[in-house]
Symmetry: C2
Subunit: 291 residues, 2 copies
Amino acid sequence: MPSPPRSGPLAIIAGAGRLPADIAAEVAARGDAVVVMPLRGLADQRFDGFGGLPVGLLDPAGALAALRQVEASAVVLAGTVAKPGLGVVVAGWQAMRHRDEIRAIMQGGDDNLLRGVVKFLEANGFPVRGVDEVAPGLMARVGPLAGPEPAEAALRDIALGRKALQAIGPLDIGQAVVVAEQRVLAIEAAEGTDAMLRRVATLRQPGLLGRLVRRGRAAIGERGGVMVKAPKPGQDRRVDLPAIGPRTVRLAAAAGLSGIAVEAGGVLLVSRADLVDEAVRRDVFITGLPA
Amino acid sequence: MPSPPRSGPLAIIAGAGRLPADIAAEVAARGDAVVVMPLRGLADQRFDGFGGLPVGLLDPAGALAALRQVEASAVVLAGTVAKPGLGVVVAGWQAMRHRDEIRAIMQGGDDNLLRGVVKFLEANGFPVRGVDEVAPGLMARVGPLAGPEPAEAALRDIALGRKALQAIGPLDIGQAVVVAEQRVLAIEAAEGTDAMLRRVATLRQPGLLGRLVRRGRAAIGERGGVMVKAPKPGQDRRVDLPAIGPRTVRLAAAAGLSGIAVEAGGVLLVSRADLVDEAVRRDVFITGLPA
């Protein structure tokens, strides 16, 4: 049964990477209380000044107890959980003790763990917020964000990319597409943005006679083109917030792209300073499109 | 300047694989004259009974001379040119002698060699036909084509796959999608159907905790789902005819799919006997959808 609203800090349950610390810094900078609860075996940064109890990915009761102890007013889930270390595997054994709660979290036909976690936390009285709500300053804004000015051809490719994303939007497919010379080279579906960019890089390294022939398909130029990324319509941004970071810029450059266009307010800029550095160094533009 | 219609045989300019021979057999079976002109260094089958002069991929004038010699009434381009052997590389040196014609073929803002070849042949008075026109018996027809009966869930996934193809159709993107449990897992763009199926197979072999966590995305089941393949609207089938063959079935099985649905009349069944064998052996259904 949901409890009445609590008056304590915003609690950030933190996976790997610098995002949790960046959120904490922005929340604190505007004078709001914030505490970071690092996920054991996943969080890989120090959270000096925002220190909270560590919590276990597979210990829902422990996380609730920690949130109640600090009287968290709301929760943000942030950071990556893609490459769990040994600690998580060890914690997995503990999960046997919590299997009923975990089963409840995973139930309801929803196979997405994070969505289950959101439901579980809210059912226990802790509203879950998106990064875009609590730290809007970390999101892309409209206009040039880094790197050179987009050329005319790039602007045309961006327009086609947006059209492609709009066409597939109602089908809840992907967040990103790659367009070059007015041709859609790749659409992200379940594989993720990084894998899509790697695919484009591979397509652009044709073998013998590949550029000439390529099984009856149009040859793909080796350079040029853009990636366009935006949230899907109706996407729960607390669970799946589109993001780009320094690695995205490196992969875009390796794919020969001239730039990246993202929907302002809807795409997170991870490690912004490094992202901007990479964009300048690799001559890749980053631009924010009006939502 | 186009010449008047000729009254000779249909000429098949043949790349690798059995398709050129299959076309020749179907044309001959209905009593029409047919000759096969194997591409030097590419064609890898014998064409007993349909023998014609070999032609060079990079020798347009030679191909025209051969077509004039047999007074070809029309031309079909068939077979793959994806893995050219040494012969083609050697022939590439010859191309220096024909560079003006080849430049003409490649001109006009069109970077597709085959489209250039079609224009070149037609401008020289040889109409180019599609495989679907000259050998309709090689195309998928409506209804069950091989393997088991599609389950209810597969029929729903097929319907969503068709919707996805229709959504991206106007954007001239891909011929195929993979759908499982009402979720679009992959859309083919420039990478081709085989690469898309390999990607799905990889997505379904998650690493440690991958099935549980997968960076906030919904986990992908290890089995089930369908591939749907159809021509793009306005696609020139003489240049880019969608096809499935035994390898497609093997890749679909490796990706855990329960079946393949193709647009009847619009998708070629390559090596049909082997395709049906593979479908039965791997328990993958193949079904033809009304166009």
